[in-house]
Symmetry: C2
Subunit: 308 residues, 2 copies
Amino acid sequence: MRHKLLLLTSNNERYRELLSSCHLPEIVLLGDETSNILEANIWLAEPALAAPLLPHAKNLTWMQSTIAGVDALVKPRQRKDYQLTNVRGVFGPLMSEYLFGYLLAHQREHQKYKNQQAEKIWLPGNFKTLQGQNLLLLGTGNIAKHLAKTAKHFGMNVTGINRGAKPTQGFDKVDTLANISHHLTQADAVASILPSTSQTRGSLNAELLSLMKPGAIFFNLGRGDVLDLDALYMQLTKNNDQHAILDVFNQEPLPKEHPIWTLDNVIITPHIAAPSFPEQVVEIFSNNYHKLLQGEQLSHEVNFARGY
Amino acid sequence: MRHKLLLLTSNNERYRELLSSCHLPEIVLLGDETSNILEANIWLAEPALAAPLLPHAKNLTWMQSTIAGVDALVKPRQRKDYQLTNVRGVFGPLMSEYLFGYLLAHQREHQKYKNQQAEKIWLPGNFKTLQGQNLLLLGTGNIAKHLAKTAKHFGMNVTGINRGAKPTQGFDKVDTLANISHHLTQADAVASILPSTSQTRGSLNAELLSLMKPGAIFFNLGRGDVLDLDALYMQLTKNNDQHAILDVFNQEPLPKEHPIWTLDNVIITPHIAAPSFPEQVVEIFSNNYHKLLQGEQLSHEVNFARGY
């Protein structure tokens, strides 16, 4: 066998099961013993589990991440002498279900009508539609492109933010993070799908958040550390007509002490917007493994310098 | 002035304001006095308000309904000696916001995560996606076509039910109401957008409802009397893994005595899924009025025999 594969996931059993039904020639799947860290040349791994073990991984040449967020692996002093690939392209539809589920629940006032039902009150109210509203997407990658497509289907105007303001199909406008202020003041809904990089970390700070317009709704769907959570807490305490839907946090689980848990205008979910399904990860791994055998370039390669 | 227009809506003031800014030659807008019922040849009216006054409307030649549902005007013994038009084509996007807002809230378990947040519990759960689920749409008209489009965007399989099982763009399959049983047993979500006609009234009865599969979610978005509400109540009492989202009722407001108000697996909203905005109604009226002046055929004409 030319290749030795190590699993480092919170669900190794499921991965073993799925890998056993794949055609993967010239590979042996190692057991979970610590000693195998030295031996394996390929890792199928969750970044947070893999990061502390990297110094011991003498033979590692390729790591397939089971998730999109690889920031635990691209820090300045970490090893960059192996090939790192992540999973992409499968999260857009799930993220759309999450974002538009919560956005529609908000705009179409699910909670108000639920409260009325509890009192048997029949009272049609004023009415907001997504049609003609402005959505600001921070990020214009695969996930953001899918979100933009859903937003256009619902008749929204969509502005995207990326590094070079490069025109991106499916967006009405694209601009840079440096010019975000203008767009924030116009947006009815703002969603961050930004990766965690040296440029994005902490970029959604008190000053930017204060530019959101009355009644705006903010989503954090990318990485937790892009947002200053305490600043958001202050912003939403002062502006209870603004709302936030948060799925990712700098520290997960979000500590019970954080006061944002209890704000009425905040919804907190436990990083469930777009889970990686092992089935999809194994499919991506298997495709990449066959490319490796053929000497082809792997898909979804992470650029260590860029950080995603 | 050749034409005399009477308003019969619950919001005449708003309609007066909007009409005053339209270019409508050769028409006089009458006041709201009862005596004007005799004089007017054109009515812009809500069917439920217009129906009891029809016998007195000596000069009526054309009525523009402000809503889609005209069943109050097409009953067997009612006058059919005038031209009746309704509003169409504007409800699809609003209905999609309603249906997919509640469908996503259900599948992505908004209530469960809200309850967890109240206890500061961080617990990702199992996960359902709309992708690959089956949506059964009762009706294949303009609204259903738009719902089908949204459903396809979310990766669902869409079956439509119409009178002749005539193939309809945007649906994966189309069949007749007579063959509904088979499709009901397969559907993860069922939505009725049926008009109220002699064939559809009461058609969603205990027998059909009992065919819904475990965990299915049922929407009534069309007309209330298509559904046997007491049968649905019994069905959902016995099967608490099934859910219903109800926006229209045979009697509106839904009487406070009806036990369905209090079922945990039912959401009741006060006929708000797709309201007619006076702006849209006036635009349709104005277009039709210009067609009338030109001697052209009016848009959205109701067929009294068919009932919609």
